[in-house]
């Protein structure tokens, strides 16, 4: 749906030496001379560093002096430097979407260091391609959206409560939705915390009290999120409380739904022998003081975790939990003999490693097994347990008798994680936990603006890690709420209503639910929900969808420019 161009493109091309990074391989002056011959290029120059303050002011000067209406910078990657150059354009009065980059460093000079001729040819082509796209670029607007200064926290465990408190203390209203009748989550089921042996109930009650007494926090227990519509700043949330629907308008959403404990049905005699427990059940016995003195206890690690197929991940916290519980039993009953049968021991961090050392000092035995030779547990008629296992250090089978076998099982995703992921339109990873926007750079954001994740909903975590993430999330979510408005992305799709046949293909394809049919059956995009992937445009049977800033014409022109000459 290209509107007729009113203005003739006047493209300015700035080719960066990047010191010797580009200039040492690519003949920059040749590229500049070549750029001047490309149709619609009004000006071209070389810079030592285009991204330096000198380079930036040269761009701004040239825009004014040569009346440029498009800018191309041939330098590094748009993934790092596009925002900088776009700002320069904007400061010179040019819409920042009238800018394009040619990546002649990361994808040219650095990758073809020993072929300067060919690298120079490629750099020219990349500039030509960027100009071909730039000529067709159109200015875009980033609409401003108001943000409701209130957050929804899903999950009332330690992560959710911490995030809620932090946001409330910053002055924002918070609604906590908790499925259970009480706050607390998994922490409520624990005895003592690793690594400092603090009483879990004390730690919990202080934060529960703080949450309950905070005027800014509204706690909805026995409640579940039923539906979420809308977008950052304006989520329309339906919560079901005591079977009645409750409507909330929320600016941001925090997913803090935690995890469940894996139940190892039919593994190592669990359920068929009452002396085979999970660590979670052991915690309960320790908490209530119901653990009678055992002569021997054997703990088996990685039960149902790090599988070849199925749950492939390491649950991280189980090694620490086993060592902590072994130490607690040692404290209670010093004569009890303890064995921890492990595949690989992961006591990461200083404190956990210290617990491990302490356990060794106190005589807890550690036996390493291998995944090809897992332990076997059998019981005789009196219920006595026999554990046969391969010892990878002795390189032979060993046999142990025990009163109690404790299985260390992983945290697994909540059963309804998938349901919630569909309601929120945020992804789950291959292991079924919520999946962040970027594994390194955006660890607590979702790709969807205004929705964040913390705690074990994301992956198995201990309390301190959950708290750190919760505090991180609270500050991330506070940014749009404090600003009171956000700028929506301009790179979104638009529908040509004259061409739309109402077939609904795009409605089904959009992963964010950004496209709906209107009252006359024609597709309509809610721009602020659209994330700009463009799959709808590439799939529309009537070719009725235009992807802003990545139009069919622009992409084709860029590709075909590579084949000219």
């Amino acid at each position: 749906m290209a509107t007729p161009k009113k203005e003739i493109p006047r493209v300015g091309v700035f080719v960066c030496h990047c010191g010797i990074n580009i200039g040492g391989v690519v003949k920059v002056s040749e590229v500049v001379e070549f750029a001047k011959t490309i149709p619609d290029v009004a000006y071209a120059e070389a810079n030592l560093y285009t991204c330096s303050s000198e380079g930036i002011s040269k761009i701004k000067e040239a825009i004014k002096k040569y009346n440029l209406n498009r800018v191309v910078v041939a330098s590094c990657t748009p993934r790092t430097h596009e925002p900088l150059f776009r700002n320069a354009c904007e400061e010179a009065g040019l819409n920042k979407y009238l800018f394009e980059m040619a990546n002649i460093r990361d994808q040219c000079s650095w990758a073809h260091m020993h072929e300067p001729e060919k690298a120079t040819t490629k750099a020219k082509d990349l500039v030509k391609m960027a100009v071909a796209k730039a000529r067709l670029l159109e200015p875009q607007d980033e609409p401003e959206i108001d943000v409701t200064p209130s957050a929804l926290v899903i999950g009332g465990g330690i992560s959710g409560m911490t995030a809620a408190l932090s946001m409330a203390n910053q002055g924002f209203n918070v609604n906590i939705v908790e499925r259970e009748p009480e706050l607390g989550g998994m922490l409520a089921k624990l005895h003592m915390l690793c690594p400092n042996f603090e009483d879990a109930s004390k730690a919990l009650s202080s934060i529960v009290d703080a949450v309950k007494s905070n005027q800014k926090i509204n706690v909805l227990t026995s409640s579940e999120v039923e539906d979420v519509k809308g977008f950052i700043g304006n989520f329309d949330v339906t919560v079901k409380k005591d079977d009645k629907p409750l409507k909330l308008n929320q600016g941001t959403i925090v997913v803090a739904t935690g995890a469940e404990n894996f139940e190892p049905i039919n593994m190592y005699g669990y359920k068929s022998n009452e002396n085979v427990l999970t660590q979670m059940q052991l915690e309960k016995l320790l908490k209530t003081g119901d653990l009678r003195k055992p002569d021997k206890v054997v703990m088996i690690q990685c039960v149902g975790a790090r599988e070849e197929k199925g749950r492939q991940y390491c649950s991280r916290i189980c090694c620490g939990v086993a060592i902590k519980n072994a130490l607690i039993i040692k404290d209670l009953y010093p004569e009890t003999e303890l064995f921890i049968i492990f595949r690989d021991l992961q006591t990461y961090g200083q404190e956990y490693e210290a617990c491990y050392t302490e356990a060794r000092e106190k005589g807890v035995h550690f036996i390493k097994y291998t995944s090809s030779n897992p332990p076997e547990v059998s019981s005789n008629s009196e219920g006595k347990l026999t554990i046969k296992t391969y010892d990878a250090f002795l390189k032979e089978m060993v046999e142990l008798e025990s009163d109690l076998v404790v299985l260390s099982t992983p945290l697994i995703p909540q059963k309804d994680a998938e349901k919630l992921s569909k309601i929120l339109k945020v992804p789950l990873g291959s292991d079924g936990f919520f999946f962040e926007a970027h594994v390194k750079l955006r660890p607590i954001d979702f790709a969807t603006d205004g929705i964040f994740v913390c705690g074990s909903a994301h992956s198995p975590k201990d309390i301190s890690e959950s708290i750190s993430q919760a505090l991180g999330v609270a500050s991330r979510a506070a940014i749009p709420m404090a600003n009171k408005h956000v700028r929506a992305d301009a790179i979104t799709s638009i529908i040509n209503e004259d061409l739309c046949s109402g077939c609904g293909t795009c409605v089904r394809i959009c992963p964010y639910g950004a496209i709906q049919k209107n009252e006359i059956g024609i597709a309509q995009v809610t721009s602020v929900v659209c994330k700009g992937c463009g799959t709808c445009a590439a799939s529309c049977p009537e070719k009725a969808i235009t992807m802003r800033h990545f139009t069919d014409d622009q992409i084709t022109a860029q590709a075909l420019a590579a084949l000219e000459g």
Binding site: T77, P78, R79, N103, R105, D106, Q107, C108, W110, A111, H112, M113, H114, E115, K118, A119, T121, K122, D125, L126, M129, P427, G429, S430, A437, A447, I491, S501, C503, T505, C506, R508, I509, P511, K531, G532, C533, G534, T535, A537, A538, S539, C540, P541, E542, K543, M547, F550, D552, I555, T556, Q558, A559, L560, A562, L563
Partner: protein, 257 residues
């Protein structure tokens, strides 16, 4: 002079383009033949772009996206895969080597993998030689066929099947039924063959009005095949009779939409 293939890459911003950047940052060297076009998601890559690029003489087109499960936009890459599957089938009909179009997954951390894949693809295309429709004397038959293929890929029918594949195979329809994958693949390849044949007829008649016999000769199709399709295409309003010579109708293409 040694043959230097012209290769165009369509890469998604989040994984594969980042992987290409990482290859550079790591100073991993690979052949300089590829020219990369960045899109936000591999799902954005319309079959049209790939066919248009091949029609203009690219020796190879490399499409890259995030690994399944890693897509920044949840599953745009899987849509890209479905489009690639359709394209492979369609290009195979034209006489152009289908391996000139290739799809690969590269993550942002796989700089070495990116370089390796580009090297392998460049080597393969070098071995394959120049595209038959590049250079001074392009193979006119294949070029015509590709133009028909482009029209085919742009048609409603194929775009609907490809666009709705996930929904048809994975979700239940209004009647609570799912379409088995094999069944859908069958439907797709049948649709590709039929629509491609019709577009060849259409393109041929666009240039020159012809009889069934003449069409059958020029397109190397049986008269029965040509006639069956002409009947359908007339009903769809794609063709008309220009004149009748003796008793033989001479057909012409009509402008569609």
């Amino acid at each position: 002079m040694e043959f230097e293939p012209k290769i165009v890459g369509f890469l998604c911003n989040w994984c594969s383009y980042a992987g290409a950047d990482l290859a550079g940052v790591s100073r991993i060297q690979y052949p300089p033949n590829i020219r990369i076009v960045r899109v936000m998601c591999s799902g954005r890559i319309d079959p049209d772009f790939i066919l248009e690029t091949l029609i203009h003489g690219a020796d190879g087109v490399l499409v890259m996206g995030c690994h399944p499960g890693d897509c920044h936009y949840i599953e745009g890459n899987l849509h890209a895969e479905r489009k690639a599957k359709m394209l492979r089938n369609l290009i195979a009909e034209t006489g152009l080597e289908p391996e000139r179009m290739h799809l690969e997954w590269v993550s942002a951390s796989e700089g070495a993998r990116f370089a390796q894949l580009v090297k392998e693809f460049t080597d393969r295309i070098t071995k394959l030689g120049p595209s038959p429709i590049s250079g001074e004397n392009p193979n006119k038959v294949i070029l015509e066929n590709l133009l028909a293929a482009k029209r085919t890929a742009g048609d409603f029918r194929l775009r609907v099947i490809v666009g709705r594949e996930r929904e048809l195979v994975e979700d239940k329809n209004a009647y609570g039924e799912k379409v088995p994958q094999e069944k859908l693949d069958e439907l797709l390849s049948e649709a590709i063959k039929t629509e491609y044949t019709r577009n060849r007829i259409y393109n041929m008649l666009e240039k020159e009005s012809l009889s069934v016999r003449e069409l059958s000769k020029r397109l190397d199709l049986s008269t029965q095949d040509v006639l069956t399709n002409i009947v359908v295409m007339r009903k769809k309003g794609m063709l008309g009779v220009e004149r009748i010579e003796g008793t033989t109708p001479i057909y012409m293409s009509l402008e569609v939409r």
